[in-house]
């Protein structure tokens, strides 16, 4: 009987094209949109030579000329020598150096600040050299103005913010599994649909057939999330780290949370199907927003101010767990995310049991 219910639920659920669209195709489409729209953003902040123009007369000073040429060779500037700020006005350069201590720009920004910083360093060197020469005229000037590397750079190379958008998308998709949960409950809760009434009076053990159907919903949801992950990894080059087994555990758990969430929505109120569906979408969108799908900083701002909100948000947990597998070497954070996800799922399950157990109808 289990086999019978399992097989038929599988058929019934997969034949529902709207569900397949919203749970599988829609997130995949969104992922393509993300890639097309945001793919270039990560490189937007990368350093490229800054085009500047310098007044020709300034370069008659050999020290300044040497300095500017050095900056060009070091890859900071792309220098044009001019007699006016024409190149700046026309938008070909970021800044025009009019005097050694006078820069003209069109706006404020990071590139302008870098130009300012570098020109300042020349002025400051001048001042240092004068001070030291006053005290010790025999000193080697090159040694004075030489800047050594004292900074030990330990930046993590595994950093691409774009990935987190996809992690949140996958979290959202797992939670979209609520649609399967609702659908299954409409097949079994007698007060919800005609089909369920028929199922309720069928000479089968309800717990077994319900369990079989929920298992189907869960398996479908897992498969769907895995398909999307594979799509993101192989077609869109999104990195997920190489700890596959942990990703599988996370996906299985997340997919379960989604289905249970759907069951919870279905049995927790007596509104119609449309309302329940709308409720699911709204909650899902809100949770995705809080997990950083639209603005990635949101998640960190919440972490800073109301950390508990991230812990009870399943989408934030899934995002964070995927992110920690990709970014951190240790597993502590992943484990903590998984435990919170289990707690949320468990909590929902408790409510589901309270709402559904021991129902008997004389008439509906």
């Amino acid at each position: 009987m289990f086999k019978h219910s399992f097989k038929n639920s599988l058929k019934v659920l997969l034949r529902n094209k709207a569900l397949v669209f919203w749970t599988l195709l829609f997130p995949i489409l969104l992922s393509i949109f993300f890639k097309l729209a945001l793919g270039n953003i990560a490189s937007g902040d990368k350093f490229e030579k800054i085009p500047i123009s310098v007044e020709k007369t300034l370069l008659e000073d050999t020290f300044f000329l040497e300095f500017i040429e050095q900056m060009q060779d070091d890859g900071y500037f792309e220098v044009s020598k001019t007699n006016s700020d024409k190149l700046l006005v026309e938008g070909h350069v970021i800044a025009h150096v009019k005097e050694k201590n006078h820069i003209i720009t069109k706006s404020s920004g990071i590139k302008q600040s870098i130009v300012e910083n570098i020109i300042n360093s020349y002025l400051q060197n001048e001042s240092t050299v004068i001070n030291i020469l006053k005290n010790n005229p025999k000193v080697d000037i090159d040694k004075i103005i030489k800047v050594d590397e004292y900074v030990t750079d330990v930046s993590n190379p595994d950093m691409n913010l774009l990935n987190t958008f996809f992690y949140t998308l996958i979290g959202m998709q797992a939670m979209y599994g609520y649609l399967w949960g609702i659908e299954v409950m409409y097949l079994y809760e007698a007060n919800l649909s005609t089909k369920a009434k028929r199922n309720a009076v069928a000479p089968t053990k309800k717990s077994i057939s319900l369990f079989a159907s929920l298992l189907v919903a869960w398996i479908i949801n897992i498969s769907i999330v895995l398909i999307t992950i594979a799509f993101c990894k192989f077609a869109l080059n999104v990195e997920f780290g190489d700890r596959l087994i942990y990703i599988l555990i996370l996906v299985a758990l997340g997919a379960l949370t989604g289905v249970v969430f759907g069951v919870f929505i279905a049995v927790s109120n007596k509104k119609d199907y449309e309302f329940k569906n709308g409720l699911g979408v709204t909650i899902n969108m809100l949770l995705s927003f809080l997990a950083g799908m639209m603005v990635s900083d949101i998640k960190i701002i919440i972490q800073r101010n109301i950390p508990i909100l991230n812990k009870i948000n399943p989408i934030a947990n899934i995002t964070d767990a995927m992110y920690s597998l990709y970014y951190y070497k240790g597993l502590e954070r992943y484990v903590s995310d998984v435990i919170w996800l289990m707690l949320v799922t468990g909590g929902l399950l408790v409510f589901v049991v309270i709402f559904t157990r021991g129902k008997k109808y004389d008439t509906i």
Binding site: A18, F26, F33, N101, S108, I110, Q112, I114, M159, R304
Partner: protein, 368 residues
């Protein structure tokens, strides 16, 4: 005018679904504009957010700490959050001064991914330590070295914003008008399709066919409904814009963007009518609406500026009216004159004509 009146009755039934887009939009607008109060008329260096921890008690370490404190925006965050904040770019770099700094001059540095801001921090630190050492090696004691250093580092170039440059329009202008691309599309397509799906139901359409109202009048009333609803949405967003930024609404560029968005609204209405002829059921309706509205907005640069999109993405988006609408907005910011936006306006009108012709053709085809 029964059909026309009924049009709005149908909308009333779906009002929650329709309005949710406006609510989200307004929330985003308020959130965005409150965090962007930059004055572009005078120059200011960028504010670099840095996490700083000094493990050393030495005098030189304290001097360096003071220097970093004075020049960058130090963020007080928990040690455990530093890596996250770096990853998400909320701080640009993390700086830790080594415990034995007075001997090894070591500074541990972490940069946010591909950030130029971190470079500023790194350069400043190297510069500071190098200069200090130059003084120390030339026989200056700590106090006088730090004092002279402070004086050296205070000599700064004057930076000015060129008065020849075009005065920049506030950036929310462009943001607002680019963003309404999404809400206008989502809402107009939603409304038009909801109404048309209702009228296209077999029972209803058969009943309408045998009614005494001629079919030309019926389609005229429906078309009127579509246009009125388009204008209502457009007018609402223009109204909100004027209320939110009364000063900006007098700018030449705002007026041009309003004209641009009006023509775009008409194009969207014709597009929505065409979509409603192709979509049969209410189920597939929201799917199509979402794909068209989100797809157009992502690909044409409504959410992310067109400058940041790849060439392939922009090439794909050239088949969408949104591309020309948004391109026009961006061009208006650069050069606010009617001539600037005229070519793209013509393209939008061509799209509208094309969509209408296909719709008429589909109607004829169905009848025959």
């Amino acid at each position: 005018m029964t059909l026309f009146k009924n049009y709005f009755k149908i909308i009333k039934k779906h009002i929650f679904h329709i309005l949710i887009y406006s609510v989200i939009f307004f929330a985003i607008i308020i959130g965005f504009t409150n965090s962007n109060k930059k004055d572009q008329t005078s120059y200011s260096s960028v504010n670099v957010n840095v996490y700083l921890k000094n493990h050393s008690d030495s005098k030189i370490a304290k001097a360096l700490e003071k220097y970093i404190n004075n020049n960058f925006n130090i963020k007080n965050i928990k040690d455990s959050d530093v890596d996250d904040e770096l990853f998400y770019g909320l701080i640009s770099s993390s700086v830790e001064i080594d415990k034995n700094f007075d001997q090894n001059n070591k500074v541990i540095f972490k940069n946010a991914p591909k950030s130029m801001y971190g470079m500023l921090v790194k350069n400043s630190i190297n510069n500071y330590i190098s200069k200090y050492k130059a003084y120390a090696n030339s026989g200056f004691d700590h106090e006088s070295a730090v004092k002279l250093l402070e004086k050296d580092l205070s000599s700064k170039a004057k930076v000015e914003i060129s008065n020849k440059a075009n005065k920049q329009d506030p950036n929310y202008l462009n943001f607002y008008f680019n963003f309404i691309n999404y809400v206008l599309m989502a809402q107009i397509i939603l409304v038009v399709s909801v109404v048309m799906v209702a009228y296209n139901k077999e029972v209803i359409s058969k009943r309408n066919k045998i009614s005494p109202v001629p079919s030309s009048s019926q389609s005229l009333q429906l078309t009127l409904g579509h246009i009125v609803i388009g204008i209502i949405f457009w007018a609402t967003y223009m109204f909100v814009f004027v209320i939110k930024w009364p000063d900006a609404s007098n700018l030449n560029s705002s007026k041009l963007m309003m004209v641009n968005s009006f023509v775009f609204t008409i194009t969207i209405v014709t597009m929505a009518v065409l979509i409603s002829k192709l979509v049969k059921s209410e189920n597939s309706l929201s799917a199509v609406m979402n794909i068209v509205a989100l797809g157009s907005s992502f690909l044409s640069g409504a959410f992310v500026s067109q400058e940041l999109l790849s060439k392939t993405t922009l090439d794909i988006s050239k088949i969408l009216p949104s591309y020309y609408y948004i391109k026009n907005n961006n061009m208006i910011v650069q050069n606010p004159s009617f001539e600037t936006m005229f070519p793209n306006l013509i393209i939008l009108i061509a799209f509208a004509t094309g969509f209408s012709l296909i719709s008429i053709f589909l109607d004829r085809y169905k009848k025959s």
